[in-house]
Point group: C2
Chain length 459, copies 2
């Protein structure tokens, strides 16, 4: 890579930071319909940023929120074509009262940028756009062909992305995909993620009596929807922390002894883990370590529950309704659709008389694991080494990035998951943040990646 | 009773209705601290209404909300002294969106007064005050001595009432107590309630990780507070609908065969019961009928539950907190304090590592049953017969009226529980209402009660 690209990045540091801050000021919460306008605003912002960087940018309408693309295809047929994916939507910010500074008024404290979406994924997504800008403004070209795809529904299941990518099967044919929506292993310990968990997400709603009832007048004689719901949900785990949904573990690809060895070799302190979360002890699937539980074992988590009186003090009612949101993290080769159906069946089977059950299937995707040998992973490794001063470790990740499975399926490409953030950046939590230093090093690594990929291809 | 009293009630019907409507316009929700001002307003309203009726009225400050009293003691030492209890506080109105007309903008539709507190207890309490007014305005006197005590904390446990009544042990010495805070058995089927369930109320709160966590990054490796809570709460009932808290049934006074016979003899249709609530089937303690479950068996109901994400759509978090509100209905001779401690112990015993449990004890009171033979119950029977045109049935009630136990304990008096409302009046539910006809007949019965009690005493 020519030194001028790196110089450019240093000279325009402040402007690039402000670009991120401006994007973070837009509350693009895809799960909350009251933010429709903001979603549009964020999409327009990304499109115009792509244009200014020198890409041919387009905004594509979908049944949901728009998808923004930016292309530069002048590197020629011999140069590799890289598809870079990111998302401009963010998680809901609540609980609001736990934020030190407002989630959509970015604030920089001790080198960290605090805002919802700082790491996930506005900050990480922009590193690639800024690297592209640096190449085009200094050399007038890029060593690779680039297709950048930035969607607005990642946090709600990417429901319209696959349809869009399918429609671009030929136009967007590519050699490798790059996504920065994961984490480093630790500060100054960059990582390439070669495995992801899948997910299924749903909601179960119970309706009992047609109105809240006096718990004295009716209590004991009607099915209480909350009483029923807790029984039903409690039946989803056994006493060993294993999920009881029939067939849940059938297809699970177990960890190899080699992988268990690699995991065990990574620096990890259970004590620090618990201190950071301020918990005494943890629970989980019997017989597995914390890293194994996080990266390689399936889960069933209740993400939210509500029913009856939510105010102060007591209220002596039998409520009319109760509901809970459920997500399962899946590992290769569990099938999200099959398991969602099995979960629904299990809940219906244990639903008692006197309540009506409704079931909402939100979305699902499979987990996957890549083979880390091969030139693309080598190119990424040296790019990261040049930017961070040390080679990345290969890790797996407990999160889910549905698009990675789609990219494999539609374009038959692997994805380089290059995380510039940290697990401690409070993704999906109050006070989400992104280290300014990682924002800059990630941008530099992305700039190196383009030349490394080009070199690899021509060598 | 002189005809003039009844005439007076007929002539002033509209003014008395408006008196109730004005009181119903005051949102005196004792459980919600944002209504402090309204509580004061309601107390002042009751005090001035007592004065206008001809009672010597006083407002007594307490550590909580004021207690209002009104006395007339000129019937002489031979006349019985009647203590009438009521409350001016009401249940919270939510869920607000289920009200046809706003809860604190009383609306009259098909002879029913719709508003929070219409039956429980503003409307029923006023029947006695209006009867007193009718006597005093027409005859210049009452056939009995009257002490009226109206508190503002019935819906939150009457925490300051006992201390007040204790302080009036001599001054308020009385022969019998009267409370209208129960229900008739059915429309045109008046009832005297001779048994009440007791109650204990508490809240359990779990705190896990110090922040909401990404369910992909952390899921499966930390104790999820909602997962833990549903397991803990589910463990409170066995598969026969019996409460599993150790010792819960130990002290329970079982129904006699005679009582089970009386219950079975009352008109009751399980089909209509389910149709009214729009449920298919019910569940409850194995081996008992619906009336037995409602009146004579203890319960454990979850009144509210919350944790994690409460918004639209999915949110992939492991939440930091989860909590639930619990009430148990108790029967004679279960001890609320002992059982609250046992419940707390049970929950602590099943609380898993990785979450911190907090327990809030709201309040409790014992259940009780009266002997229905005796002159006071006879006097009440004939008063009701005169006003309603038929003798009342003797029933028990699933609700709890803590003051009844206190009155027995402090003044050694029984309480006549004369209900003018209906179970179908939506007490504690949206669209609470009171039949205008029952408001008027209840007032007339109260007017008759004073002369019946006087006659009884002198006969």
């Amino acid at each position: 890579m020519t030194g001028s690209v790196e110089e450019y990045l240093n000279q325009h540091k402040d402007r690039h930071l402000n670009l991120l801050l401006d994007l973070l000021r837009i509350p693009s919460v895809s799960a909350d319909s009251s933010h429709r306008q903001d979603m549009r605003k964020a999409a327009d912002f990304v499109r115009s940023a792509m244009e200014k960087a020198g890409l041919t940018a387009l905004l594509h309408e979908t049944a949901g929120f728009p998808i923004v693309t930016g292309c530069w295809r002048e590197a020629g047929a011999d140069a590799p074509t890289v598809l870079i994916y990111g998302h401009y939507d963010v998680q809901p910010p609540d609980p609001l009262n736990e934020w030190t500074s407002p989630p959509f008024a970015p604030d920089i404290r001790d080198g960290k940028i605090y805002a919802r979406g700082a790491t996930d994924d506005k900050g990480q997504m922009l590193t690639h756009l800024i690297a592209i800008e640096a190449w085009l403004k200094t050399t007038g070209s890029l060593p690779v062909n680039v297709i950048m795809v930035v969607e607005g529904e990642e946090e709600v299941g990417s429901n319209n992305l696959d349809l869009f990518l399918e429609s671009k099967r030929e136009e967007y044919a590519c050699d490798i995909a790059v996504i920065s929506d994961t984490s480093m292993y630790a500060q100054d310990m960059p990582a390439i993620t070669y495995g992801l968990r899948g997910i299924l997400a749903c909601e179960v709603l119970l309706t009992g009596p047609n109105r809240d009832l006096h718990s004295g007048v009716f209590g004991g004689a009607v099915t209480n929807p909350i009483n029923a719901l807790v029984k039903m949900l409690a039946s989803l785990h056994d006493e060993h922390g294993r999920v009881t949904v029939p067939g849940f573990y059938e297809a699970v690809v177990s960890l190899t002894d080699e992988e268990r060895g690699q995991f065990a070799a990574l620096p990890f302190s259970q004590e620090e883990f618990e201190r950071d979360l301020q918990v005494k002890g943890t629970t989980g699937e019997y017989g597995f370590s914390t890293p194994e539980r996080r990266w390689a074992r399936p889960t069933l988590d209740l993400n939210g529950i509500k029913g009856g009186y939510q105010g102060e003090g007591p209220k002596t009612i039998v409520p009319s309704k109760a509901s809970a949101k459920i997500t399962c993290r899946l590992v290769p080769n569990q099938n999200p659709q099959q398991l969602t159906a099995a979960l629904r069946q299990h809940l219906e089977a244990v639903c008692p008389p006197g309540v009506r059950m409704e079931f909402k299937d939100f979305h699902g995707c499979s987990g996957l694991v890549f083979n880390t040998s091969g030139p693309y992973f080598q190119a990424a490794t040296s790019a990261i080494e040049k930017a961070f001063g040390r080679a990345p470790v290969f890790i797996r990740e407990g999160g889910s990035i549905p698009v990675v499975a789609s990219l494999k399926h539609i374009f038959n490409v692997e994805t380089l998951l290059l995380g510039w953030g940290l697990n401690s950046d409070n993704l999906h939590s109050p006070n989400e943040h992104f280290h300014q230093r990682n924002f800059e090093r990630g941008t530099l690594a992305s700039a190196h990646l383009f030349s490394e990929l080009a070199a690899m291809k021509t060598s």
